[in-house]
Amino acid sequence: MSILLQATGLNKRFQNIDALDNVSLTVSRREILAVVGESGSGKSTLLATLAGLQTADAGRITYYGGDRPWDIGDMDEMQLRRLQRTQWGFIHQNARAALRLDVSAGGNIGERLMMNGARNYGDIRETAARWLDEVEIGRERIDEMPLNFSGGMLQRLQIAATLVTSPELVFMDEPTTGLDVSVQARVLDLIRNLVHKLDVATIIVTHDLGVARLLADRTVVMQGGAIVEHGLTDQVLDDPQHPYTQLLVSSVLPS
């Protein structure tokens, strides 16, 4: 499998906390990578840094998609924006904050297309309708304001609004945390089906090892800003080597 994103030696310090401590990782095309670890271990910081939403103090991130390798640190602001809104996507935990609640479902999905230069209303609308079907909201709700959508629907709308440009790489930060358990399963199922169908590489942050087990090809375990263990998900969860991972697995996955 060819490498899509490579990070080496990422460091990030907040006051006296090492949020990222010499983090290196790779993601291959079509691969799903889970980042697990306890609260405050640096998962969100890592994800936001990889996605170019915040900058590291040190380290290098190279993206091998598109026509040539890009060093994220060398890109100008507009190049990075283009990359983020075409070949990348970011799905936030809080869909309510990420979406426009006073804009129709179709407009929310269409925004990414319009930001990428789409200027044909009929085409935008048709694409949005297709995606509403795809995420099981249904095209008949295209003109509805998402204000009254349930938490699960909002998250499915955010997924549609992100995947609409068929990105190569999607970053997800706890996409199902905060949803009812029954709803979580449905959203996870949708994510799994879509990322496989679209062959999109995914880096998913979760503190739920069950999510990693369900979705991820590989898993990295973070503690105190550092990656303490990484490997195939089954390996990491079934035969953890690091004491911290052993603790995580034994406390969360009683089987």
Binding site: M78, R100, V103, G107, M114, N116, R119, Y121
Partner: protein, 280 residues
């Protein structure tokens, strides 16, 4: 008796506003901050436009002030009489005779010339404000010319109203570079801004920003390829002058609720009525 400086503002304030206006002319459509002063009117009554007018008006100017197309509304009369007292300049209702036109909500029907300046009163200068409420983020969008988000509003307009033109304040691209609010004029007036021979100045008092469109600058209304911009006009004829092309207001004529259309631009309408009387 208190004596005021010519045009109310002191010379230093006028100079600083003129400096801001020169910057605004140099970067068409770009919003320039300025040190908006307290005016003897509350915000929302055209304080931005008044300060711009006060900064460019001279003794030989002839001023026209309109509100919704009419010279005789309370607000227009108040602003005109303010300038009459503070400058002594002639006030005119005739578009063709005016050298400066201060306006709220309309551009006159009579085409403007190189010898004229039109000053717009602007409540909200930032076209992106609803979509990008955080000012620094909107500023980055302007800096990068990254305006795709604005189309979300157009998408919603078509979805709700079936056509691209919001009734008023329809966003425009100036000089193919800067996204600008045309102020709350009807979409019908947007095409008049394009390559207008007159200098167009915009003042927002509460928001403390001004901007400009120099003469003959391209001003394009945003639209979609399959929903081209359509300057909306009520499909009717002016009851008073018979115009079939001017922007119309709908008024109720009598107790039975009979509705009639009349020109919104009262000067244009009376000029046409006068012309009819001379040559029946």
């Amino acid at each position: 008796m208190i004596s005021y400086n010519f045009a109310y503002l002191d010379e230093q304030t006028k100079r600083s506003i003129r400096r801001a206006l020169l910057k605004a002319v140099a970067v068409p459509g770009w919003q320039i901050p300025f040190g908006s002063r307290e005016m003897p009117l509350p915000y929302g009554w055209g304080t931005g436009g008044i300060q711009v007018t006060a900064s460019v008006i001279g003794e030989t100017d002839r001023l026209k002030v309109i509100d919704q197309g009419a010279d005789d509304t309370t607000n227009a009369v108040a602003i005109a009489s303010f300038f009459k007292r503070m400058t002594g300049v002639d006030i005119t209702t005739r578009t063709a005779d005016a050298t400066i036109i201060q306006t709220r909500h309309r551009i006159p029907e009579h085409p403007l010339t190189e010898n004229q300046i039109i000053v717009y009163q602007v409540p909200q200068p930032e076209p992106l404000w609803r979509l990008i409420p955080e000012r620094p983020v909107a500023m980055r969008a302007h800096a990068l010319g990254d305006y795709g988000t604005m189309y979300v509003k157009l998408y919603e307009d078509i979805t709700r109203f079936g056509r691209v033109a919001s009734a008023y304040e329809h966003p425009v691209m100036v000089g193919d570079r800067v996204l600008m609010s045309p102020s709350p004029i009807p979409a019908f007036d947007n095409p008049k801004m394009d390559r207008m021979p007159a200098l167009q100045l915009f003042g927002a008092g509460r928001e403390r920003r001004l901007y400009a469109v120099p003469p003959y600058t391209s001003v394009r209304s945003l639209d979609f390829s399959d929903h081209p911009f359509h300057p909306g006009r009520a499909d009717g004829t002016c009851t008073l002058c018979g115009s079939t092309t001017s922007y119309l207001d709908e008024i109720i004529m009598d107790d039975q609720g009979t509705r009639r259309f009349v020109c919104s631009d009262t000067d244009y309408c009376s000029e046409r009525q006068d012309a009819k009387e001379v040559t029946p």
